[in-house]
Amino acid sequence: MTDFARSSRWYGRRIGWFALQAGLLVVVGGLAYGAVVNASQNLARANIPTGFGFWNNTAGFDISQTLIDYSPSTSTFGRAFWVGLVNTLLVSGLGIVLATVIGFAIGLARLSRNWLMSRLASSYVELVRNVPLLLQILFWYNAVLKSLPELRGSVVLPGHALLNNRGLFLPRPQFGSDFIAVLAVTVAGIVATLILRQWARQRQIRTGARLPVFWPAVGMIVAVLLAVFAVAGFPLSFNLPEMGRFNVRGGIEILPEFAALLLALAIYTAAFIAEVVRAGVLAVPHGQTEAAQALGLRSSMALRLIIVPQAMRVIVPPLTSQYLNLIKNSSLAVAIGYPDLVQVFDGSVLNITGQAVQVVAITMAVYLVISLVTSLLMNIYGRATGVVER
């Protein structure tokens, strides 16, 4: 066989591949175009308005948890969308933090040489990851709701917090005008501590002598803060929750729907993260631990400096998909009435406006953007912490 024959067959195969890909593209594009044309024709035939004109119409319905200003009488459907989106981001963000903390703890506990601890951790994983998430959400909601006392029998927690089946009510801090000074001093203290830490590290590398950092830091941040706080005349007061006839007034309100959803999402996802962490740590060869011991590192330092950085390389990609799962699973909020994006926008707004195509398309696009941004951030983190191959 000549070189020429081989290369022409190679080109032939390449052109074949190219034709196949182009054909597929045409088919997919045609289907998408057909779907759009079909939908718009059907909408036109049924006299359903197209476009996004509904966005600026008054919403008229109330939402139980609004982190940004919202009023049923003046706010628009667009505003309701943002309220729902913020609620989704809140529960997803806190859920990711909680799930990560619990997941790492359980994952490391499962590798522990302590028999009881590792058994407990593996029971947790097996129990939690094998029960459907929706059931867990309903369990937490009904367990949280039913076991808490009614309003009149509210549990008063230390610091004037109230707990009942309407939620947890915490004192709301109110900052006086001088509070900005306290804030400035705190920031200055933190910056000074960081500078001190850097200087101490360089000095240790240069001379081998170690400088104490912890106590000066406490002095710079806490002591100075308290001093300024006292001088300014304590510019901080608390708006305490009070019992009204029907409900608690004032304070910060944490809805039971929010608490149940957050708990269920964090606990469920943590079981998967625990397995990811365990796999990551086991992927680091045992020789690395022995090498660290041979260098005389304490086991805590070996874990922090040798094992975890290498394990992270394995952990980050599957961890990212767990985060994405958690964000998407937060839409199960509809089951218990937490006003997340799907509940507010795909529930109330869709039904009142009847604009199913637009509303569902917007919601899908939003989840796509949130997920892509999350994986982008995780990829950047993975690249920054990954082991540099030489």
Binding site: F61, S64, L145, G347, L350, N351
Partner: protein, 284 residues
């Protein structure tokens, strides 16, 4: 209530198929009902759907006839010792999402300068369960619905329905826009049942009434005229409805009235000759 009203509304099937069982009921929640109708998954939405202007003009649906005049009310726990909806300032209210109820609730509290904590659920079942567990002080929906839900609670007597009716909720079957014959059929089925009640034609006496000399009854039952044929049916269309389902009053009492666990009074749904609003359009 959904099932009850669906049953109350199984008339078009009797008219077309001569058999009320030849119909496929698709259970829908408030959230997906209009989409199901728009997309053709169902042909008639005979649920507790309120006829409003915006729904009529922007959702691509048409409403056929008001088969139940309802209004929104509140149910509260008796232990709260509340006697009027105007005492509900600050109360937590459980409500089903995507309904006119959700909008009326916000309007009512705003216009009475009361503050409100709404807890919104996708289905009535979830909302009522949360109300019963004490998550909310009050549950709100159309008053027919309140009575229906109340009998299902573990202790109905511990809950009362407040006297205020805060909205007009004319419930009507809805059909897709563009199928005018079908809309006519749904509309005239309702009016035939009301006409039958006005004329004293019942499930029991409908066979005798075929011999009636009253021209209105003769037209209704298809003895005279071509009214059924003009709907694309046989001329005994109304006879078959009354034979299988009964007239409006009979259907009402059997499904939601005194003959049912709900015990809803006729009220606004009495005939116009008896002080109500049900008025059968003339068949001629």
């Amino acid at each position: 209530m959904i099932a009850a009203l669906a049953k109350h509304g199984d008339w078009p099937q009797a008219a077309i198929f001569n058999d009320p069982t030849k119909v496929k009921f698709v259970p829908l929640i408030a959230d997906n009902r209009f989409t199901a109708l728009q997309s053709g998954e169902v042909d008639v939405l005979s649920r507790n759907t309120t006829w409003t202007m915006s729904r009529d003009t922007t959702l691509g649906v048409d409403f056929a006839a008001v088969h139940f005049y309802d209004g929104q009310g509140f149910m509260v726990h008796k232990s709260l010792k509340v006697n009027s909806a105007l005492e509900l300032n600050d109360a937590a209210v459980c409500v089903q999402q995507g309904t006119t109820t959700e909008l009326n609730l916000a309007d009512y509290f705003r216009s009475n300068h009361m503050s409100l904590k709404t807890v919104t659920f996708a289905t009535a079942d979830e909302a009522i369960k949360a109300y019963e567990s004490g998550r909310c002080d009050s549950y709100t929906t159309d008053s027919s619905g309140l009575y229906a839900e109340r009998v299902l609670l573990s202790d109905p007597s511990a809950n009362i329905v407040l006297p205020e009716i805060i909205s007009k909720e004319p419930l009507s079957p809805a059909v897709r826009q563009g199928d005018d014959t079908w809309e006519d059929l749904v509309r005239w089925t309702h009016h035939a049942m009301v006409d039958a009640e006005e004329l004293g034609v019942t499930k029991a006496n409908v066979d005798e009434q075929l011999k009636s000399t009253n021209p209105e009854i003769r037209r209704l039952l298809g003895v005279e005229g071509q009214f059924g044929a003009s709907l694309g049916l046989t001329n005994d269309w109304a006879y078959r409805i009354i034979k299988t389902i009964g007239n409006y009053g009979e259907s009402f009492e059997r499904t939601v009235g005194q003959g049912s666990p709900l015990k809803i009074a006729r009220g606004l749904n009495a005939l116009w000759t008896k002080g109500g609003l049900q008025y059968g359009l003339p068949i001629r």
